[in-house]
């Protein structure tokens, strides 16, 4: 599905990612954890194609294609979905209109017939249940006046409608109370399948109580310094990140 090899990237000449390598197979859920400023969001942004980041070295292959050579909209159309840490407001554009345009752009790219208003509405009604989305959020401008929890829930709703092959969830748990967290996590779990991979970027372990990953990677100073099974998350929760650091400095490279 996704193969990241020695990826170096940064903003305005400041290197943030320092040689990341990661292999994600279909159906796998990978959690990327790490302290603030370790480069988690940068990694998510680089994969989605955010233009403010420049890649200085390394390759990313997605479904056999050179991901870094693709425009962000083409990545999206090819099935990469980023759930934003800070979903963006688009005043005057209703959520449903936005999502319909989005879905149809993706369908068109894949040679599928575009959905008309009625078909779209039927699809949406069904998908709304996945994250218990309130009907009113459909007809309101995208993210405008949404609470923090509504915004995050809406991101997962978008994911449910767009059915990506690779979903990257960037701190989807931040700002959620425990009930909202459970709803969002349930939504993601319902969307797990053998063909769909998920990268969960998070600061805290608690999200991983609900979305149980196949692998956990620890990102520090732009490198993956430790990888392990889901139990690694629990260990991090207990001991923090500091205990890994010396080990990383000793070995000087990622696992």
């Amino acid at each position: 599905m996704l193969s990241i090899n020695d990826l170096h990237a940064g903003v305005n000449g400041n290197e943030i990612l320092n040689g990341i390598s990661l292999e994600v197979k279909p159906g796998e859920v990978h959690a990327i954890m790490g302290p603030n400023g370790s480069g988690k969001s940068t990694l998510a942004g680089v994969l989605a194609g955010k233009e403010s980041y420049t890649v200085s070295k390394g390759t990313v292959t997605y479904l056999g294609k050179d991901l870094l050579g693709m425009a962000p909209e083409d990545r999206a159309r090819e099935g990469i979905f980023l759930a934003f840490q800070y979903p963006v407001e688009i005043p005057g554009v209703t959520n449903s209109y936005f999502l319909k345009a989005s879905l149809n752009a993706i369908r068109k790219h894949r040679g599928l017939e575009e959905l008309d208003a009625v078909e779209f509405l039927q699809l949406v009604k069904q998908k709304m249940k996945i994250v218990e989305l309130d009907q009113s959020l459909l007809n309101r401008p995208v993210n405008e006046g949404f609470s923090g929890g509504e915004k995050k829930r809406n991101e997962i709703f978008h994911m449910a409608v767009l059915e990506p092959r690779l979903a990257i969830l960037d701190e989807t748990d931040s700002g959620l109370d425990i009930d909202a967290l459970r709803i969002v996590a349930d939504g993601v779990n319902k969307l797990r399948s053998k063909d769909r991979s998920v990268i969960v970027v998070t600061h805290y372990q608690r999200l991983l109580d609900y979305i149980v990953p196949d692998f956990v990677h620890v990102l520090m100073d732009g490198q993956i310094v430790k990888s392990g099974p889901k139990e690694l998350a629990l260990e991090l929760e207990e001991r923090g990140y500091d205990w890994i650091k010396p080990q990383a400095e000793r070995s000087g490279a990622a696992v």
Binding site: G49, K50, E51, F84, I90, N95, K100, A105, I106
Partner: protein
């Protein structure tokens, strides 16, 4: 940043598709302006003596006026003696039916998407087609006549309904109102006249399509709309012009009169040639539009989408005289490339419990300069008057400008005036969000701009909303949501 920039440029450089010229023989007045030209225009139209006198009085007053310079626009001085004030396509006699109209003219309007021929007419819209200085055709006249609605060219109204014209001409925008209004009053050549009698609701949209064709010619038309007690009319106005590298002056006057309980909804999609990307050519659109809510509970709404013209100088206003009368102004103004727009409204509250709403959306791109200039004037007797103004500016790129000049004068204590203003730049994060959802940059920009204009677009009649959508290169909101 770079992709954002290039989309904005491609939007800015989109072709002006109405820039063709119709090859047609014209009856043209000599260049320049003097009393003889005023007399010539009047005699061409076979006008009565009182109207000639009215014109001459306006002309003499105009001579004493100076061109206004307070607007936030700059352009080289206009030589009023180097302009042509009258140009009309040559026709044998006044055409009595569509068959007698020069086929070149009919073709022109078909090309513009305004078919005039009986079989192809736009359903539900009556059109008065004004070509340079004259009206060439008015559709659905008979049908409207049955209801007592008069919809005809201004010249015809002068001939057929002189009493009405005499009563209302200049009653909202007096001939001495301002420099351009005075000029128009002296040399106006044609335009549209609508009269909706007491208690009648116009069953269709009335519209005028203005076309400038001849070179170096100014277009000076007048529109006069009168809605009697309880009447209702929705009126649309569209404009295009050929691509030329010289500037052309368009100085129109529009007067609306609403009596007791009458409603007038006036919508404009202004798409005069805006000049090329370096600012060469284009129309100077210096227009005076004003409505008078004379009667109680009357209502006048202006909705405008201003995408064309190299310079726009335009402040459609409402005089709220009748108690409980309502004035509205909804505007989208685009200033792209080297375009300059100084536009807004004047709401003058005179009667009690009068209300006004102003929603202005300015979009600046390229090197465009967009100014909102609005006056809210609440007079002493306008007890409990209320105004709400909202002025939003959207910047695309970093070389354009947005300016807001609100003037608020309140002379009584029971009134409430609210003003909100915002300026935003189309955000890279917004565009990236859209792209991450599979939308192209262009679609993203269109969608964001469309969302920004939504409050104004939804005030437009359907036919025009579609046109406005095409003009801004945006897609309209779908039926869902």
């Amino acid at each position: 940043m770079s992709t954002e920039q290039s989309t904005i440029e491609s939007l800015a450089n989109r072709e002006y598709k109405y820039g063709f010229v119709t090859e047609i023989e014209s009856d043209t007045a000599p260049r320049g302006l003097n009393e003889d030209i005023v007399r010539l225009i009047s005699s061409k139209k076979g006008e009565p003596e009182w109207l000639l006198e009215w014109r001459l009085k306006a002309y003499r007053h105009w001579l004493t006026l100076e061109e206004p310079t307070w607007a936030n626009v700059s352009y080289p001085a206009i030589d009023y003696q180097d302009m042509i004030y009258y140009s009309a396509p040559k026709q044998k006699a006044a055409p009595k039916s569509m068959e007698e109209i020069d086929p070149e003219l009919l073709k022109t309007y078909e090309k513009l998407g305004i078919p005039l021929a009986e079989r192809a007419r736009l359903a539900g819209v009556a059109v008065d087609a004004v070509f340079d200085s004259v009206s060439v055709a008015t559709t659905f006249k008979e049908k409207l006549n049955e209801l007592g609605i008069i919809f005809c060219s201004f010249s015809e109204a002068v001939r057929e309904h002189p009493d009405l014209v005499k009563k209302y001409l200049g009653s909202v925008v007096p001939a001495n109102d301002n420099f351009f209004a005075a000029l128009n009053s002296a040399v106006f050549s044609d335009g549209s006249f609508c009269f909706i009698p007491k208690g009648v609701r116009s069953p269709m949209e009335l519209s005028t399509y203005f076309r400038i064709n001849a070179a170096d010619t100014g277009q000076f038309e007048r529109t006069l709309i009168v809605a009697e007690e309880g009447a209702y009319v929705s009126y649309l106005e569209g404009c295009t012009a050929p691509i030329r590298d010289t500037n052309q002056l368009h100085a129109a006057v529009v007067e609306l009169v609403a009596l007791d309980n009458a409603r007038i909804k006036y919508s404009t999609v202004q798409n005069w040639y805006p000049g090329d990307k370096d600012g060469k050519g284009g129309i100077y659109n210096f227009v005076t539009k004003r409505g008078k809510c004379q009667g109680v509970n009357s209502k006048i709404s202006w909705t405008q989408v201003e995408t064309g013209s190299s310079i726009t100088w335009k402040y459609p206003g409402v005089l709220l005289i009748g108690d409980n009368s309502v004035g509205e102004f909804y505007s989208v103004a685009v200033a792209n490339n080297r375009q300059q727009a100084d536009t807004g409204t004047k709401m003058v509250h005179i009667g009690k419990n009068t209300k006004s709403t102003i929603v202005s959306k300015g979009i600046s791109a390229g090197f465009g300069q967009n100014s909102y200039r609005g006056l809210v004037d609440v007079k002493k007797g306008a007890a409990n008057a209320r105004n709400f103004s909202q002025c939003d500016s959207l910047l695309l790129g970093d070389k354009c400008g947005a300016h807001t000049f609100p003037y608020i004068e309140v002379r009584n204590t029971s009134s409430r005036v609210e003003h909100e203003a915002s300026t935003s730049k189309i955000g890279e994060d917004q565009i990236f969000y859209c792209k991450q959802r599979g939308l192209s940059t262009e679609d993203a920009v269109n969608m964001i701009v469309n969302g920004f204009c939504k409050e104004v677009f939804r005030e437009l009649p359907m036919e025009f909303a579609v046109e406005a959508q095409k003009l801004l290169g945006v897609s309209l909101e779908g039926s869902v949501g």
